[in-house]
Structures are given as C-alpha cells and as structure tokens.
C-alpha cells in the first residue's frame, strides 16, 4: 500500500486565525492523536494520507467504501440475531444434556450480588453491538445509495463511535473458546449454529474496521448532510 503524507500548512493556519471562525477552518485536518495541523489536500483513491509525526491515518478514500461498510454492518446484524436466537453450545455428561444460548451466558450472573454484572454482560455482548450496527446502518445507508444523509445522521454516527470500545461480541467468542477447553475434559461439547454465527461476526468486524477511515467518513457525512 502506498503512503502519501499530507502537507503541513502554517500559512493556512495563520489565515484561519486571522479570519472570523467560520469556513476558513473547514479545509484543515487536525490529527486526533498528536494534534498536528494539516491542510486538506486530495489523496488519490486507495492510498492513505498519514500524519507525518505519529502515523495516524487522516485520509483514506476508497471506491464504494460507504456501501461496503453498510453491507458488512447489515451482515453482522443478521449474524448477531442468529447468534442470539439459536442454541449456542450443548454440553453432555453422564447422560445429561445442557443447552445454553448467548442469553443464558449473560443471565448466569443474574442471581444475588452479581445481578448488575448480568445487565452489563447483556449490554456488552448483545445490546451495544446490535445498537451500534443499527446506528451505523442508519447513518450511512442513505448516503451509500447516493441520497443525502438521514436526519441526525451525525449524532447517530457519533454515538456509534462512542460505543465502539464497549461492544465486545468478539471478545465473548474468544471467551467461549477458553471455556470450551476448560470443560472439554469432563463432558462432550457440541457447537451450535449460534457459535459459528458469532465466529463469522468477528471476522466481519475485523474486515469492517479496515475499511473505515473515520476522518474520511466524517468529512463525507458533513458534506452530504443538509440538516
């Protein structure tokens, strides 16, 4: 992948300071990690514009990036609902069989003092991932089809971004793998459809994160919003 660095722009910054705070700042990019200031110059499609100091991607335009993100988010949402409603794991030992869904795992904490943790787990592995995907689809789907952004798309996308660290479906899948090894000795384990749905979900999430350049998405959102 080729890399092209953006130009530093002391002149533009000086101009921005001397004028009234308005559109003069619109052509600038600030690196979110190290605060370096750049003048926004077009980067060829498919190449990354990086911050010269810390290497954060500031611009990464791609063909049809928007529709890819929306499609991957929609796929994830379908897989997530499959993961919730189908049996997840089946354990048999000594003629007894125990079947657990993703819900059962979250509700394992629901007795006694661990009740708040049951709610948190429910949020981490089901509610927040689902809500985040819905918000992404709402904010970006109309634009991916060439329309204006939906009303309040900017707010929706900001919420989706804020939820990103707290949506932990993929961590749950690795947790399942560890749990399976722990019980593998004392019982035979059968993996349900939901388990494979979750595994697929993780892979798609990794793909999705590689397609997303957040700063580029934000600029597109701003340009296409009329609200």
């Amino acid at each position: 992948m080729t890399t092209k660095t953006l130009q530093t722009a002391p002149l533009a910054a000086a101009a921005a300071r001397s004028h009234t705070p308005g559109d003069s700042t619109a052509g600038l990019v600030v690196c979110p990690t190290c605060d370096a200031l750049y003048k926004l110059t077009p980067v060829p499609v498919g190449t990354r514009g990086r911050c010269t100091r810390c290497g954060t991607t500031l611009s990464f335009p791609r063909e049809r990036a928007m529709s890819r993100i929306v499609m991957l988010a929609a796929t994830s949402l379908v897989l997530l609902s499959a993961a919730v409603f189908f049996p997840f794991l089946e354990l048999s030992a000594g003629g007894m069989t125990r079947r657990a869904s993703v819900f059962d795992a979250a509700l394992a904490f629901s007795t006694g003092l661990t009740l708040p943790l049951a709610l948190a787990t429910l949020a981490f592995i089901i509610l927040l991932p689902a809500l985040r995907l819905t918000l992404i689809i709402y904010a970006l789907a109309p634009m991916s089809m060439g329309w204006y952004a939906a009303p309040r798309a900017i707010t929706a996308f900001r919420w989706a971004e804020a939820m990103r660290p707290w949506a932990m479906a993929e961590i749950f899948v690795i947790g399942v793998a560890v749990a399976l090894v722990k019980v593998a000795g004392l019982a035979s384990v059968h993996l349900g459809i939901a388990f494979w749905a979750m595994v697929l979900l993780v892979l798609i999430n990794v793909l999705n994160d590689n397609f997303m350049c957040r700063l580029t998405l934000w600029r597109t959102l701003e340009q296409r919003s009329r609200f």
């Binding site: 910054a13 200031l37 007894m96």
Partner: protein, 209 residues
Amino acid sequence: MAHTRTTQPVLTAHAAGLRGCRTCGRANAASATTCRRCGAGLSHVPGLQLVWAWLIAGMVVYVPANVYPMLRTQTMGRTQDNTILGGVFDLVQSGYWLVAFIVFFASIAIPVAKFVVIAYLALAVQWRWPMRGHARHRLYEVVEFIGRWSMIDVFVVAILSALVQFNLAATVAPGIAAVSFALSVAFTMLAAQAFDPRLIWRAAESPMQ
C-alpha cells in the same frame, strides 16, 4: 527512521490557536466548546485528574478481584472456590499450558501492565520527562487496543456458569470476584479513554528547563 531520536517540530492546532476534534479531526475555533462537524465535546484543558481517578478506582477494585473466588465449582457435593490465580494453576496441572497462558496473560499480566503503563504515561506528561521517539505513543496505542480484551475472563465465567448445571454431578456458579474484576477492567478502560494522547506530544514540545 530519520526522527527516532527527537520528535520533529510540527505545527499543532493548539499552537495555531485552534482546537482539534478528537472524534472527527475538524479544526475548530479556540472558543468552541463543541465540534462544528460532529458535535463532540472539545475539552478545554485536557487534564490528568480524571485519568488518575479512574486508574486508582481500577486498582482498588482489582484487589478483591484477586482475593475472592471467581468461580465456585460443586462436584458430587464438594464445593471448591477458585480464585483467578487458582484457576491458572488448575489449568497448568491439567496440562492445558496454552489456555493457562492465555488466562494468565488476560487476567493478571495485562491488567497489571495496564496500571503501570497508564501511571507511567500520566507521570511522564505531568513531570515532562524527556521523550525519545515514539515509544510513549506506541504504549498508549497498545493500552487503548488491549484494554477491552481483559473482559475475556468474565465471559469465561459466564459461559461456564450457564453451561455446567448438572444438579448433583457438577455445577458452576460465578463468584463475587467476577464483579470486581469486570469493574476493574471498565475503570481502566475509562482511564485510558480519559488520557488525551496529545498531551504526550505537547509535553515533548515544551520540556521543563
């Protein structure tokens, strides 16, 4: 790399009298409190108080997480309480070296390393320790990325408790340590989020004389 020894001089939004948005990268006027593009709040003076508060809270609740049982196993009427470290030893004894390593790494090595790294970053910024190259920036990125993965142990407990419910033969129930461990992970995540990485660079730009 040409600039591994010192960081190169770069014009920052702060130096240019602007305020950069950490969510969307827009430059805002110095007087702005919310970003013009995305509406996110722009912190006035990014401080370290919140970082220290969350970090200390995370360290405090990490103590009961290690002292109290994480998992309560009942087999044939015998009850056994397992702490985090006890669970690791059990796995080693059963020969599951890889899993023991993963659990040890996720629930002991990573949380402790996170406390140390966040405290180091905050101190380095506060006391303006001289900086060489990008080490601190890398450390911050690693802590930001890895923080959520410590939650793995809580999920393992959840899955085991949901799955292993064979009345008399074997039942597994979560212990109170699961709650404090989850809180510790959440608090350190918040501490890492509260830490503004721009401070790393700002401290390097104006070292104490």
